[in-house]
């Protein structure tokens, strides 16, 4: 039992997919300019990884190893397309907001990485937990990065103006504060992720690799 809970908890910190395994960096840079986009992406990945890991685990013994990457890709792509179609039919507005992420989910290397590293060698229940854990670990970083980028870049959180109105110069802006537009560009996401990695490793020297 203790081992099972480790599957969920480890990826949140000490074996985080972004900061430790360095997977899923591309989407972490692309979509974290807003907190809302980060949250939506987290939920989507949670869903696809949870189910995808179970499917891969169930068919792990019958997959020919020569084409296993193609099989993995097909499973993710099929799942994502089904989710997309169902959303379009029953929650059209949400599906429009997700539109840009659909392609990013398919190419998200965390999903393929966990299929390859875990689901192919473990049972469905443990694979499910591993999928959920890694998706949450991914989500935590996304939300932290999204929080700082939206707050410092646009002065808003989830679209609400936190620091005042930049055009009418109220709140913090009346004191001469300006939004840092650079925060909205992808390079700053990399720097924020870098800072998170730095803080995490400074707190836990066991994570630092030896040369």
């Amino acid at each position: 039992m203790a081992k099972d809970s480790k599957l969920i908890l480890d990826p949140l910190a000490d074996n985080n997919p972004i900061t430790i395994q360095v997977l899923g960096i591309c989407s972490a840079l692309a979509i974290t300019a807003q907190l809302k986009a980060s949250i939506v992406m987290t939920i989507s990945v949670l869903f696809v990884m949870g189910i995808g890991n179970v499917v891969m685990s169930l068919i792990r013994n019958i997959i020919p190893s020569k084409i296993r990457i193609i099989v993995q890709l097909t499973v993710v792509a099929a799942l994502v397309i089904i989710v997309d179609q169902v959303l379009k039919a029953f929650s059209y507005q949400l599906s429009k907001e997700l539109g840009a992420f659909i392609g990013l989910i398919i190419t998200n290397c965390i999903i393929m990485g966990r299929f390859e590293a875990f689901a192919l060698g473990n049972g469905p229940w443990r694979s499910f937990l591993d999928g959920i854990g890694n998706a949450l670990g991914y989500g935590v970083i996304l939300i932290i990065v999204g929080f700082f980028r939206e707050l410092l870049g646009s002065g808003t959180l989830l679209g609400y103006q936190i620091l005042g109105d930049p055009i009418a110069k109220t709140g913090l802006y009346s004191l001469g504060y300006e939004n840092n537009g650079f925060m909205l560009l992808a390079p700053m996401a990399l720097i924020v992720v870098g800072i998170i990695i730095w803080v995490q490793r400074a707190n836990n020297p066991a994570l630092i690799e030896e040369n």
Partner: protein
């Protein structure tokens, strides 16, 4: 001994089986959900057209459409006629709003004639001429519904996009950007069509100057902004003869 799953024949059989299973599953899902998706797209178009002419449920800074279950009713109440402009002929067509602008644009490439939909709306005894336009942003398509009066002054605009960057180009569908277009002139002072430029240097962030043919750009979204300006220039220009006729 070689494992059963390593044999070539097994690999090929597995691949074929997988393609058949996944293919039929996706085809089944897609065809069973299709009527519902088509209906949702129809509702969205009606909502967008009504939004452009100012019929929405916006609060202070949000974008809110007429509710899904009311939109059909409101649409037939406010949209008095729909036309298709085809070269020099203008014909009435009650289903003009279903015309796919993307497909019409493709017809030009094949040397065909493009049908231009146009919707006429009445609200508070004011007449709105609403047209759908489409262009390219940074990553993918951008499109809009522009409501104008007979002098081609913009009365309302709704922008949307397929995949512009969240927080940057995606902001074209935010109120602070769309509302800037209201009142903007598409013609210059001598009546020639110039469109509306998305400018980074107009020094008018509150957009109080409505006859400069410029609105303030979004920082960090230069290519999306240029795409929007090009879309307005190229697509709205096609309607200029219609508006010239209207006045004569």
């Amino acid at each position: 001994m070689e494992k059963r799953t390593d044999k070539n024949i097994y690999t090929i059989a597995f691949a074929i089986g997988m393609v058949v299973v996944v293919g039929s599953l996706l085809a089944f899902v897609a065809s069973s959900l299709k009527p519902k998706i088509t209906e949702n797209k129809r509702i969205e178009k009606q909502q967008n057209i009504l939004y452009a002419m100012g019929i929405h449920e916006n609060t202070e800074s949000s974008v809110a459409f007429v509710a899904d279950d009311k939109v059909g009713e409101e649409f037939s109440k406010y949209i008095t006629s729909q036309f298709v402009v085809n070269g020099s002929s203008v014909s009435e067509d009650t289903e003009a709003y279903l015309i796919d602008v993307k497909k019409e644009q493709a017809k030009i490439k094949n040397g065909g004639q493009r049908r231009l939909p146009l919707f006429v709306g009445e609200k508070d005894s004011e007449t709105f001429y609403i047209v759908p336009i489409r262009g390219k942003g940074l990553w993918d398509a951008v499109w809009a519904y522009i409501a104008m009066d007979q002098d081609m002054v913009i009365l309302g605009a709704y922008f949307d996009h397929k995949g512009e960057t969240a927080g940057l180009g995606a902001n074209i569908k935010e109120r602070f950007f769309m509302d800037d277009f209201i009142g903007e002139h598409l013609l210059d002072s001598s009546g020639n069509f110039v469109g509306v430029d998305i400018s980074k240097s107009n020094n008018d962030p509150l957009n109080s100057d409505k006859i400069d043919n410029q609105v303030d750009a979004i920082a960090g979204a230069t290519i999306t902004g240029d795409g929007v300006a090009a879309m307005i220039r190229n697509d709205l220009k096609l309607y200029v003869p219609y508006f010239k006729n209207l006045k004569n």
